[in-house]
């Protein structure tokens, strides 16, 4: 994974040589998550307050009339109030390239991004390296409306196989600038891949013993689950393949030309490959600053 970091650092080097003043983006958010544990049994569905801070700095350079490249560094921290083993900090470089098909704010823009993030999680097994890539096509329809479609991929190589996850997503978003100050956005999409879920030991033991059916029993006995204590003593984390349909609504009033307050609700309905379903919800209020 150190090789991956070196790769992206080298990729960014030509841009840094021509570095202009970097941009700086700060984000602080507080939220409430329902079923943070991604559990199917209601008694196992743990909720918690979440607190996040992130800082990103970046440099960009126009390579031609229509192509712009960028590189930067991002760092973040997540605090999960009731389940502190989920706390983590992250740090890593990112690179991006953008092609604008024409002139002006209504020209379509294709943007590619890639990044490698080192995760320092409180839970030892979750520590590792996350590699991400995305491709976004965006088009402003008029000064008030903008649409975008994104496909992205993410993989986390963790110390413990229980946290080894990867997924790809396809999602779209619509942004409406209601006035100069008020912006509303909505979006949704689907995730496919392997993601981590959790269960208390009694539930997990029952699943392994066949109480949830032979298909669940066979599948759960085949995956690399681990006791991680993430949500209490004896809690198990396990990677499952499946999909999740997700959508979100957001209201983001501008506080000035450099700051925005973001109020967001998001929901995801996940189904794993043996038909186990659960829902997650999250409310977040965040403050964004761009310097």
């Amino acid at each position: 994974m150190k090789a991956a970091h070196a790769f992206f650092a080298l990729l960014a080097l030509p841009l840094l040589v021509h570095a202009q003043s970097p941009s700086l983006r700060l984000q602080a958010a507080a939220g409430w998550a329902e079923n943070l544990s991604r559990s199917v049994i209601p008694a196992d569905q743990k909720a918690s307050a979440l607190y996040e801070v992130a800082v990103a700095t970046g440099w960009s350079r126009q390579l031609s009339g229509s192509v712009q490249a960028g590189a930067g560094l991002e760092a973040g921290a997540l605090v999960v109030d009731r389940h502190s083993l989920n706390n983590r900090t992250t740090f890593g470089p990112r690179v991006s390239a953008q092609h604008k098909f024409g002139l002006g704010p209504f020209a379509p823009v294709l943007q590619a991004e890639a990044g490698v993030t080192q995760r320092f999680a409180h839970a030892p097994g979750d520590r590792g390296t996350t590699t991400e890539g995305s491709l976004t096509l965006a088009k402003r329809l008029n000064p008030a409306w903008r649409v975008s479609v994104t496909t992205d991929w993410s993989g986390h190589a963790a110390r413990s196989p229980a946290f080894d996850v990867h997924h790809r997503r396809l999602h779209g978003a619509v942004t409406w600038d209601i006035t100069d100050r008020w912006q509303a956005a909505a979006g949704g999409g689907r995730l496919d891949g392997v993601f981590a879920a959790n269960a208390s030991w009694p539930v997990w033991g029952a699943a392994l013993g066949g109480a949830l059916g032979p298909a669940v029993q066979e599948y759960y006995n085949s995956i690399p689950w681990r006791i991680t204590d993430l949500y209490g003593p004896g809690w198990v984390t396990y990677p499952v393949s499946g999909h999740a349909d997700f959508w979100w609504l957001e209201l983001a009033p501008a506080l000035g030309t450099r700051s925005t307050l973001a109020l967001r609700y998001e929901q995801a309905d996940a189904v794993n490959r043996v038909g186990i379903k659960y829902r997650q919800e999250r409310w977040t209020v965040g403050l964004l600053l761009r310097l």
């Binding site: 100069d180 983001a252 925005t260």
Partner: protein, 215 residues
């Protein structure tokens, strides 16, 4: 004194007599329908009588500073050279898709300065292809008698010959240019208050946008 006005507008003209022949002077106060001042409106006088001797165009400057164009509105005489210094520490990409002057200045580095001669009358909208919220207007006029309203909505025009003029008032939020005809006498220093209806200000938003979360 009341002048006839187009439907939907009201116009209050106050004439105050000062000064003497041959040069005249006039002050316009441009207001919205609630009586608030309208800044950055361009008021120009176009002679309807004998054409005066052509004026010599000068220079103007529109800077790129703090990721904005400054000034927002620049009225110029046809033939004026406008300089565009980049006073930011980042790149910009000036362009215009407007018919009176189409041009593009890509790879516009910090500290660079290029210029464009605006040789056709009309309104030219400037953008930055990197920072979509950056916008400025160059109002290219065939007359040297023009002024831009200040924060109090006032524009003072001086040095024109007495006679009959077409008065044009332009603002980016007007549905169309406001046009009047006025007889401006040498001895008069008319002060005109003009009430206009503006459309909502729909510029591209600059404030940062949240990112889509993960799973």
């Amino acid at each position: 004194m009341k002048l006839p006005v187009p439907a939907g507008f009201s116009c209050l003209l106050l004439f105050v007599i000062t000064g003497a022949l041959p040069a005249a002077e006039v002050t316009f106060t441009v207001r919205d329908t609630r009586g608030g001042p309208i800044a950055d409106a361009v008021v120009s006088l176009h002679p309807l009588g004998p054409t005066p001797a052509p004026a010599v165009p000068g220079e103007a400057v529109i800077a790129q500073e703090d990721k904005e164009y400054d000034p927002y509105i620049t009225p110029v005489l046809v033939g004026t050279k406008v300089r565009f210094p980049n006073r930011d520490t980042i790149q910009h990409h000036i362009y215009s898709l407007s018919r009176p002057k189409r041009f593009e200045k890509p790879l516009y580095a910090s500290g660079a300065e290029e210029s464009v001669v605006f040789d056709q009358p009309g309104v030219v909208v400037l953008g930055c292809n990197i920072h979509d919220w950056m916008i400025a207007y160059v109002v290219v006029l065939p007359t040297p008698h023009f002024a831009k309203t200040d924060s109090a909505g006032r524009a003072q025009l001086t040095g024109f010959a007495p006679g009959r003029y077409r008065v044009e008032i332009w603002h980016p939020r007007l549905a169309k240019t406001e046009v009047r005809e006025l007889e401006l006498t040498a001895v008069a220093n008319p002060s005109l208050a003009v009430d206009l209806t503006l459309r909502p200000d729909r510029r591209i938003r600059r404030a940062p946008e949240p990112r889509t979360g993960g799973y």
